[in-house]
Subunit: 163 residues, 2 copies
Amino acid sequence: MDMEARGHREHPEALRLWLRLLTCTQLIEKQVRGQLREQFDTTLPRFDLMAQLERNPEGLKMNELSRRMMVTGGNVTGITDQLVAEGLVERMDVEGDRRAYRVRLTSRGRKTFDEMARQHEDWIVQAFGGLSPRELETLHKLLGKVKQHQIDLNDLNQETENA
Amino acid sequence: MDMEARGHREHPEALRLWLRLLTCTQLIEKQVRGQLREQFDTTLPRFDLMAQLERNPEGLKMNELSRRMMVTGGNVTGITDQLVAEGLVERMDVEGDRRAYRVRLTSRGRKTFDEMARQHEDWIVQAFGGLSPRELETLHKLLGKVKQHQIDLNDLNQETENA
DNA sequence: TATTGTTATACTCTATAACTATA
DNA sequence: TATAGTTATAGAGTATAACAATA
């Protein structure tokens, strides 16, 4: 249960933080994956894809999904194929570009997702039940800084690569 | 890059926090995995296993590794086999129990791990470079609460299962 | 030529369950 | 019977690269 027994040395604070971040995420993620599987016979990437579409009712192109889900294109094709086969999403033509699709939820997909999202929210609220609203807000803010810094680093690296 | 476009509804704070936590972890983890692969031709679970052993020079039994790494036993066997084949760890007999081993780093393994750990620490320090020492500490504390709450929930569930 | 999306492939990681050997 | 560890298997998840169609 304790994978924080890893780091040491000169900047132990950052390492300790990283290992704890990893542990927290893994604990919650493992629980969510299990529940999604048990209760809805689905997976986190599939739930993730549907969640992206739920926020974009007009649909998203494959490459937009790929970027938002942070996985490569081939995987999005695979997940989309599964969801299409189950009638939860559909591929719509994009007028003006016959290479591309817009993927969007079917009405059945929307209904199914709503049920899952309601449960999912309960699990998450419970997972963070140990924090006060104030602590929750602080955590969110600090992680926002981490995220932005990470994005900045990525941008820097890409500039270096393209130079 | 933005998978936070998922949650909504009644307790959006917890959901937003969860999605941000997931994003941060994935961004950093992806970077660490890539670097481990590029620079040391190894993987995160292998690094993890070696890190556990580095903290326990006298070695750990397979089931102890399994628990600490939060994966099932079969996987530990597989990863250990790889590391043994490369001469980085070794299986030592446990006196008094012929079923069990203690796995520990070889001296070559220790040397290899030290190099990796030094680099790894640099990556992590850089990843959290956007935070002040104070913010780092706050984040660590709050995540500690999340972790403990998660462990408490797990314990509760296990009691229920065994009842 | 570049872009959109698909296909094919391979590899890592994981869990489950059946198994062997020892306690 | 219970425990330590292994083996076998299956599936999720991912990246890479070659490819077809269109821009």
